[in-house]
């Protein structure tokens, strides 16, 4: 475990994804750097759950994301676009300030809903 943490800090080559599935909601806690190398891991992780389990709400907790560039943002936007015609939703929580700055510049917060934490993301839309 300690070894993989060192790898993330030094090279950003490892993306750790912690998955939680509750009914049709997938929660992903992302730990690492989101760039062109790791973006495909994230895409596959989300798309396979949408296709296999019929997941319709995806919550991304970005608390432990250390870096994001346009490749990472592209995958997030791509999942939003994939869920939309399925009647699904993409929600983002716990965004560190320096990551939010990049997202803001891209205009992503105008399209995708941001929440302060997982509880707020789960709450919104529940029982509606």
């Amino acid at each position: 475990m300690a070894k993989s943490l060192v790898l993330i800090n030094l090279g950003g080559m490892v993306l750790n994804l912690e998955k939680k599935i509750e009914r049709l909601t997938l929660l992903l806690r992302i730990d690492g750097e989101l760039d062109m190398h790791t973006a495909s891991d994230l895409r596959q992780a989300i798309d396979s759950e949408i296709e296999k389990r019929g997941i319709r709400t995806v919550i991304l907790n970005l608390q432990d994301v250390q870096f994001v560039d346009s490749s990472g943002l592209g995958v997030i936007l791509g999942r939003y676009k994939k869920l939309l015609p399925l009647g699904g939703k993409l929600k983002i929580t716990n965004v560190p300030p320096h990551i939010y700055k990049i997202m803001e510049l891209s205009g992503l917060p105008k399209i995708i809903s941001f929440y302060i934490d997982e509880a707020h993301a789960y709450e919104e839309g529940r029982g509606a």
Binding site: L10, G11, G12, M13, E33, D35, M36, H37, R43, F67, D69, S70, S71, L73, G74, V75, L77, G78, H98, K101, I102, L105, S106
Partner: protein, 145 residues
Amino acid sequence: MKSNQITLTFSSIAENVSIARLLIASIGGQLDLSLNDIEELKVAVSEAVSNAIIHGYQSVPNNIVYLNLEIADDTLIIVVKDEGCGISNVEQAMQPAYSTDPERMGLGFVFMQSFMDELQVESKLEVGTTVTMKKRFKQTPISSH
């Protein structure tokens, strides 16, 4: 007067983008730049190197990307070069939201432009693309002054 120069050449594979970022972060640390400035430099370098791999070399791995970092007086000059397919219309490629791939946001050049003081893109079809980015930083004042 500070002056320094580093060149890194590496294979056009995705794993190397983070190594390019590590290098610019280390240089930023040497120059005493703020964490925010270093973050922005990392994004700019990440975009330029990703472009070289994805667009310049069409994601074909056995090619070489050149990264050159130069510090001259109060300016950090970053050059990212590929010998790939080149861009037919540089002006169009630099437009926000222009992308050849729907999964991508077309924000690479926007980020480079936003985070750097100067951005220059030279490209020739079948010859390659050279991206030159400049960032001016404040020199640490000389204590005897």
